[in-house]
Amino acid sequence: MPKLGHTMTEGTVLKWHKHAGDQVREGETVLTVETDKAEIEIESPAAGVLARVLADEGVVVAVGLPLGEIVRAGESASEAAPATAFDKEASSAAQNSAAHDAASTSTLNASAGKRVVASPRAKRLAAERGLDLSSVAGSGPNGLITEDDVRKISAVGVHAAPSISPAAAARPLVASRREKLTRIQAVGARNLTASWSAIPHFVQMVRVDMSRALAARSAIKGSGGRVTITDVILAATVIALKENPRVNASYSEGERLIYDEINLGIAVDTPDGLLVPVIHDAGALDVAGISARAAELTERARSKQLRPADMENTTFTVSNLGASGIENGTPVIFAPQAALMFVGAIHDQVLAIDGRAEVRPAMQLAIAYDHRALDGASASHFTTRVRALLEAPDFLGLNATANPAAVTRHREVTIDAIGDSLKTRVTYGSLSWTLSAEDASGPDPVSSFLGALGSCLLMSLRVAARARNLTIGKSSVTARANEKGHLREIQVELQVETGAGDDQLHRLVEVAERGCHIRAMIRDEIAVALKVTRI
């Protein structure tokens, strides 16, 4: 049984694909074993004949103990016919006995040299399972420890979950079916029980407005990128972890072990159970890199091709519940990590934005933390940072107005009516916004125009200032028109913070007004009063 992972101590023989007596080629798959983390195919180290199967299907074998014996072509098998090579028989039997003796000796030595009287069969079984027989009472003759005695010992020696039996009922409840957990599920059950009992969990939950994140993702998608919203979330998580290293950590015996490397585990649901492949060193990847790794790992997880190395050394785990429509949950941390993040489903919710109720695509994040490693305040930095990054995903390197690739043609705008309301959707390249004459889902066209006017003036001012090497600090505009009916008059108040003199300022504003395209579109019949105030 090879050691296929740093923490592997044993594996279960799942299925022999070759049988005793079969020819095998070097590199040919001989059997499949199951470890804590995956099913692994074991290949023949040499060409020859599978002379003996030493561990049957279903048997748990400790790392290092033999699974079978391959005899190379040209060599004699260690079990030869009686009339010839009797010395080879004896020597290989001696080797086998010696190997098992060695194993059983180590079993014996496990407890202060006490002599263990066990049948050879019992010793062999104990050795295979890595069991110490020194404290076993034998039920055989003269206290002999027998095979049955060994089988009754718990096979793996990890903290057994305390079994909770209900009080005896008058009419006992009988299971109508029994389903044996897969090895992955069974190991998971044990590990999670350990996590749950050992780690004091607290959970922080936030609601995240995903509209900008979704838009940013669309932008990438529109430009030919292949990035999912989950990838965006993962990328945001990685940044937040970089900024909050105490979350990328483990608690161990009074210490917080902090890792530089961010190994991001992504939970994948497979028919055999939950697998958590890991994006190693995610901190070195951009969202495209994260996306590619996540896609590859997910695919391999689903097709049972994960290697133990793919699931090692996780420092933080993300579990996306959203795929199944779940909005929120209480995560269980995978010890020895310090935290685990659930990502809920994204769906339209009514959010209060600037005092108004607006419908935005939003999702819940629930992050469980190990209270021994983190307190609420430090955890909240991380929690809120993830939210902030997602709500303003500048880290994706996208600027809605500055990205030329996002716009198909300058000064070409599409306006779509929204149903038969007095609302429209204005689309400019990949940007879109709503104008509404009937509700607060967007500005009415005139107000939108006033925004354009004020913005244009402001921008024009800044361009002019830059051209004259004049500095402008804060600046803002208020643009007001008559409240009802056709536009008759517009009052524009420009507030500027600047070190420029009055004359300079005056001339600047003149130039700005002249350079403002929107201002140039206003008919002379409409009175525009421009007032400039210093801040």
Partner: protein
């Protein structure tokens, strides 16, 4: 398929082989005119003539040795000894001549002969009731078979006659009258060297030789009712000896009892024990148990004979002890 007795099966084998091959001859004391003291061969002289089926004087050394001389010069003699015990009378002819003539002469000859040896305690005292397979298992060059069923009696005798080596064929006297289904096929052969698993099980391996087999099967039924499914193995051949069959069974069960109607010291069970220690030690969950005769000659009085011969009770007790 018809049901015939073990004795009839032997006769049928002889008839079929003598018809098939004119070099097969059959002789011994009282076999021709009288049909044998166990009436196995009655009528065969009439069928095949005096040259091929004849009575011999009381000269075991001469006529068993003659079988070797005849076998190396082109005949396939089948010699009937009246009792397996007389193998000791012809020790030189069996062990040193039949078993070794081929080897000592560098393979120049083969010795295709069969010695039929009625074995087993039957109230006729120590020199007419042994099952001496183990003595001759220790002797190189001799094939040994001990059928326990009529079908095997026929199939093994035919294979023995067709085998080019000297074969000691042990026919247990108390099995002569037992019945079983036997194929009529004149080419029905049971190969030498292949054990029969008479009953499959996983709780314990019970190896039984010759007349111990029916007892072993009764013990197995009893144990099955008690919830223990034991495996009964009938080696059938002691040379060649189907060691792998026994080892495979012990790998499964971890426990083994050997039942044989021969003296315990250096019986077949001793060889099995040594073999298991050599090749299957780590599969044993208990020590081996041997159910055999004590190392005493077989007494004649019924009560004394019953005391020493392994019976169903003794086999059952041995199994139960291991299954506890």
């Amino acid at each position: 398929m018809r049901t015939i007795t073990y004795a009839q099966a032997i006769k049928e084998a002889l008839e079929q082989e003598m018809r098939r091959d004119p070099s097969v001859v059959l002789y011994g004391e009282d076999v021709a005119n009288f049909g044998g003291i166990f009436q196995i061969t009655s009528g065969l002289q009439e069928q095949f003539g005096e040259e091929r089926v004849f009575d011999t004087p009381i000269s075991e050394n001469a006529f068993v040795g003659a079988a070797v001389g005849a076998a190396i010069t082109g005949l396939r003699p089948v010699v009937e000894l009246q009792f397996a015990d007389f193998l000791f009378t012809t020790g030189d002819e069996i062990v040193l001549k039949a078993g070794m003539w081929r080897y000592v002469h560098g393979g120049a000859y083969k010795v295709p002969m069969v010695v039929r040896c009625p074995s087993g305690a039957a109230g006729v005292g120590p020199e007419h009731g042994q099952c001496p397979e183990a003595f001759f298992m220790h002797s190189p060059g001799l094939r040994i078979v001990s059928p326990s069923t009529p079908a095997d009696a026929k199939g093994l005798l035919k294979s023995a006659i067709r085998d080019d080596n000297p074969v000691l064929y042990f026919e247990h006297k108390l099995l002569y009258a037992t019945k079983g289904e036997v194929p009529e096929d004149p080419d029905y052969l049971v190969p030498l060297g292949k054990a029969a698993v008479r009953r499959e099980g996983d709780a314990l391996t019970l190896v039984a030789i010759s007349a111990m087999v029916p007892k072993a099967l009764k013990v197995a039924e009893r144990l099955a009712k008690e919830g223990h499914n034991i495996e009964v193995i009938d080696p059938r051949s002691l040379n060649p000896f189907d060691r792998p069959a026994i080892i495979e069974s012990v790998k499964k069960t971890g426990k083994i009892v050997v039942a044989e109607e021969s003296y315990k010291t250096l019986g077949v069970g001793a060889e099995i024990g040594a073999m298991l220690i050599e090749e299957a030690l780590e599969y044993l969950d208990r020590p081996l148990k041997r159910v055999a005769m004590p190392d005493v000659p077989i007494p004649t009085a019924a009560v004394l004979e019953q005391f020493v011969i392994p019976n169903e009770e003794k086999i059952y007790a041995a199994c139960r002890e291991l299954l506890a």
